[in-house]
């Protein structure tokens, strides 16, 4: 069975600075997907960034980038130039593709609560 672990329950960062959130996972699969989701107080889970395991290049989305280390089963999220609107709970998630490529189940970590301070 797959597991996802986020070892930092809470983190804080000053506005405009850089912060890195950690995530490790355990799987015997070779083909899978990793995601970072953001959940602000509004409750909606918002996709931040995704990474396909077969891609060696780390994914980037504007101020967000990942450090994907497949052998180490590590998937950290770096947020550059932090903004007040980045304050939220961040979840790391693992997905094994379903039989019909319809998007299999997501396995989430416990979350890291990030506070961006002015």
């Amino acid at each position: 069975a797959q597991t996802v672990t986020q070892s930092q329950p809470e983190m804080s960062v000053q506005e405009a600075e850089t912060v890195t959130l950690s995530c490790t996972y355990d799987t015997s699969e070779n083909n899978y997907y990793l995601f970072w989701y953001k959940q602000p107080p509004s409750r909606q889970m918002i996709l931040v960034i995704r990474q396909e395991a077969y891609k060696q290049q780390n994914a980037t989305e504007n101020r967000f980038s990942v450090n994907f280390q497949k052998a180490a089963k590590s998937f950290s999220l770096k947020i550059s130039d932090s903004q007040l609107g980045d304050t939220a709970m961040y979840f790391c998630a693992f997905m094994k593709p379903g039989l019909y490529n319809q998007g299999g189940k997501l396995i989430f970590g416990q979350g890291t609560e990030l506070s961006v301070k002015p």
């Binding site: 996802v4 409750r43 909606q44 396909e52 490529n101 998007g103 997501l106 416990q110």
Partner: protein
Amino acid sequence: DAGVTQSPTHLIKTRGQHVTLRCSPISGHKSVSWYQQVLGQGPQFIFQYYEKEERGRGNFPDRFSARQFPNYSSELNVNALLLGDSALYLCASSFAGTGGISPLHFGNGTRLTVT
């Protein structure tokens, strides 16, 4: 375009009662998944439906059931409610097809409180 919509937004029920939660996916999305998020934890997978058939089930008791309708909307039913069923229930939809995974898009959830 409208996102994933869930109803109701909040619900209070008594132990032993039954509840039905509803979800409308993004137009064109054929896959719907349900998740339970207990306060302070990450969401836990309950069900996935694709083309009106169950494609995956998490480790939840038989009191939990779901279905998907021809228009791809979905209902989650929970019977004989327990205090431990109090949680945020999230629905997510995705566009299923060839060419790789499309990410899940989540609704705002239904906050269920069991007293």
